[in-house]
């Protein structure tokens, strides 16, 4: 690890605040009002709209949300370790964003469809995606790893923001299905969530997806995790206004929520999904959160941000505040937290055990899955490959130093 930049060099949070103040002064743009129900002090606040939704989070549900956040944080630690040990090619840590992901994921219903970007391991967990399968992509044995049809949780998308358009198109499909269902006397209510980040918010596809969603009043919730850093570039390079304010330009509601407050995230997402399912159109949620760790295991945040900023956000930890609340209210005891820890360790052990056994797909499956229907060129190249590999005595893998000429020209 290197040393962090001196405090005088750059203070991302301060610049963010200044930019928003500028926006207000120059353009009359109001600063975002952030919905927060459970603050870092562990005390429950009130919101005129969302407290009603927060009340649905019973002590039992809240304990569950805490357990989910603890589990996915433990998983994150394990996956990072697996990468350091060479078992994964890369890992994309989520630590710090547990409340944003678990809160929103748990607010969705099985019939809703989720389009993640590539850090939504917490959302995947709420959708019952096998976390070992999720690691396939990072182990280099698959570019997908799970069947989205099993969980309504789409594959990760690595070209940023492309999935926001897929989400809107999917929502347009739901609209058409609903008309069909209505004709048959059933409701068929469902909505879509499109996840993306503050960095991806600058991509043209986000703009186009919001234009399409607005034009067709599509049942889609845009869930932007503003984790303050697009690898090394801070949010204020992406936007001069609070991201949630952008929704106004498209003509639908935009809400900034404390992304480290699992109760508020759950409440706001539930409200937004209900809004979308009822045919009232899209919603943009900006979950104000922080990527506590590196962008990926190949990143080094000490080169672009200071530790004081990280410390400030650690003080807003999404798990700590729930633990405070549960303990203060007498809703959970030591035994509960011990059980949560033990369950997390068990999950980590399962993931470690299973990762080692993840099957490497044969390249023949790549030939098979390039097209859904038969394709003569693919068939020809596969036939050549079979003949070529069969030509090596005692095995089907070519030795690099064999010195044998290629069997046919052009390959």
């Amino acid at each position: 690890m290197g040393t962090h930049l001196p405090a005088t060099e750059f203070d991302g949070t301060a610049v963010d605040d200044q930019r928003e103040a500028d926006a207000e002064a120059v353009m009359g743009e109001p600063p975002a009002q952030m919905v927060q129900l459970l603050g870092p002090d562990g005390k429950l606040g009130f919101d005129p709209v969302f407290s009603e939704y927060a009340e649905k989070v019973t002590p039992e549900i809240l304990r569950g949300l805490y357990a989910d956040m603890a589990a996915i944080r433990r998983f994150d630690v394990e996956a990072t370790a697996l990468q350091r040990q060479g078992q994964l090619a890369l890992w994309v840590p989520l630590t710090g964003q547990e409340a944003a992901q678990i809160g929103s994921g748990r607010a969705s219903r099985p019939q809703d469809y989720i389009f993640p970007t590539y850090r939504e391991h917490g959302v995947a967990y709420t959708r019952n995606v096998d976390l070992a399968e999720l690691l396939r992509q990072f182990r280099g044995v698959s570019n997908g790893g799970w069947n989205p049809k099993d969980t309504n949780f789409h594959l990760y998308t690595l070209v940023l923001a492309a999935q926001t358009l897929h989400a809107v198109g999917y929502a347009m499909g739901i609209q058409r299905d609903q008309k069909l269902a209505a004709a048959q006397g059933s409701s068929g209510e469902a909505a879509v969530i499109a996840y993306f980040g503050d960095g991806a918010s600058s991509e043209g596809d986000v703009h186009e997806s919001m234009v399409f969603a607005s034009s067709y009043n599509a049942p889609v919730v845009f869930f932007c995790q503003n984790n303050h850093w697009a690898i090394s570039v801070p949010t204020n390079v992406q936007t001069r206004v609070p991201l949630s304010n952008r929704a106004k330009g498209y003509g639908f509601p935009g809400i900034r929520v404390d992304g480290n407050d699992v109760i508020a995230v759950h409440a706001v997402t539930e409200w937004a999904l209900e809004h979308a399912r009822q045919g009232k159109g899209p919603v943009l949620i900006e979950a104000f959160t922080y990527r506590v760790g590196a962008h990926t295991t190949a990143d080094d945040p000490t080169k672009y941000r200071q530790s004081a900023e990280e410390d400030a956000w650690r003080a807003k930890d999404p798990l700590a505040r729930v633990e405070k609340y549960l303990r203060n209210e007498g809703l959970a005891d030591d035994a509960f937290f011990a059980k949560v820890k033990a369950d997390g360790d068990e999950l980590a052990a399962y993931v470690r055990r299973t990762t080692h056994d993840l099957e490497t797909l044969d390249i023949r499956s790549a030939f098979a899955n390039t097209y859904a229907e038969a394709h003569p060129l693919v068939a020809e190249e596969l036939a050549w490959f079979e003949e070529y590999t069969a030509g090596f005595e005692g095995g089907d893998q070519p030795a690099e130093s064999s010195g044998q000429p290629a069997a046919k020209a052009g390959h």
Binding site: V159, A162, L165, G410
Partner: protein, 326 residues
């Protein structure tokens, strides 16, 4: 048999698709009340309504990206890109998402999206309205690329594309939209497989391979060559990916000489791929190098000089002369 233009044939093919497949829908800019800038979707919104014939916001990435989402939900979107040069804002969605989704999902997901693109020059238009970008898409595995050259093929190929489980791009020869031909709407006949090339004219001295807008030019060149006593076979490729090398190989094994013609620049083009594959497959049958006729390595030129750019009968005849001089 009915006589109709290529534009009308596609219109009728789309009408048939919308009638028979309730999950199919059309998307694009100005395809509703206007019927598209070439009127290919004329009258369809009146018959099928705005949920099936969707006028979209002016955003090509948005059109392709939302079509992918609709396909994931079980729909069969047919997107119209207004002009060839306007496909590039959607290029990312086509190449990184549409082409790869099936492979990415290990075969669990299919994205049967159809993209119609009027392409090619010869209409005296402004920049970005006359290009032939098919090679850029042919290079991308996961896509299928077809291009009809006559009304009968156009009528059937658009319907076959919608039925296909893979994404299909239809490059429509825009300067031939008004070319009339006989269409058998009762049966596709030999047009049953959209990915097979057709031998349109038999010959023994040389083969000319063409597709889309240059097919009539290749046929005219073959007729002119016949007056000089040369027997030229003409193949309409019809599909660029997959490419029917079997039909081309069989022809070259008979004639020994091959000329490939397309409007797109020759460098890095489909003609180069054909030349390479045919020299591998039929080396001992070739009496001459494979000769390409195509656009120059320059941006598509201004309308007043496009006749000097576009391959015409004389350019193909000159190439035949060269092939036959060996």
């Amino acid at each position: 048999m009915t006589t109709m233009t290529i534009a009308k044939a596609i219109n009728e093919g789309l009408r048939e698709t919308l009638s028979s497949n309730p999950k199919s829908l059309l998307m694009g800019e100005d395809i509703g009340p206007l019927g598209g800038v070439y009127r290919v979707t004329d009258g369809l919104i009146g018959e099928f309504g705005p949920d099936r014939v969707v006028d979209t916001p002016l955003a090509e990435s948005g059109i392709i990206g939302t079509a992918i989402g609709l396909a994931l939900r079980g729909y069969r979107p047919v997107c119209e890109i207004q002009f060839d040069g306007f496909v590039f804002p959607g290029f990312n969605q086509i190449t990184t998402q549409l082409a790869k989704m099936h492979a990415r999902s290990n075969g669990n997901l299919t994205v049967p999206v159809v993209i119609r693109i009027p392409y090619g020059g010869g209409i005296g238009s402004v920049e970005h309205h006359s290009e032939s970008p098919e090679a850029l898409f042919a290079h991308t595995a996961g896509l299928r690329i077809i291009t009809p050259s006559n009304a009968h093929d156009a009528y059937w190929m658009v319907q076959q594309a919608v039925e296909c489980q893979d994404p299909v791009i239809i490059f429509e020869p825009k300067r031939r939209y008004w070319l009339k031909g006989e269409v058998d709407t009762a049966a596709p006949g030999r047009a049953g497989d959209p990915f097979k090339a057709h031998v349109l004219r038999e010959g023994t001295d040389a083969t000319v391979v063409a597709y889309g807008p240059l097919v009539p030019v290749a046929l005219a060149a073959a007729n002119a060559a016949e007056e000089d006593g040369r027997s030229v076979e003409v193949i309409d490729l019809r599909s660029i990916s997959p490419l029917d090398f079997d039909t081309v190989t069989a022809s070259v094994q008979k004639t020994g000489r091959l000329v490939v013609a397309h409007e797109a620049p020759t460098f890095g083009g489909i003609g180069g791929e054909i030349a390479a594959r045919i020299s591998e497959r039929a080396f001992h049958s070739l009496e001459a190098p494979v000769i390409r006729v195509g656009g120059f390595h320059m941006p598509y030129p201004v309308a007043k000089v496009e006749e000097d750019y576009l391959p015409d009968i004389d350019r193909i005849l000159e190439a035949l002369d060269r092939a036959l001089s060996y």
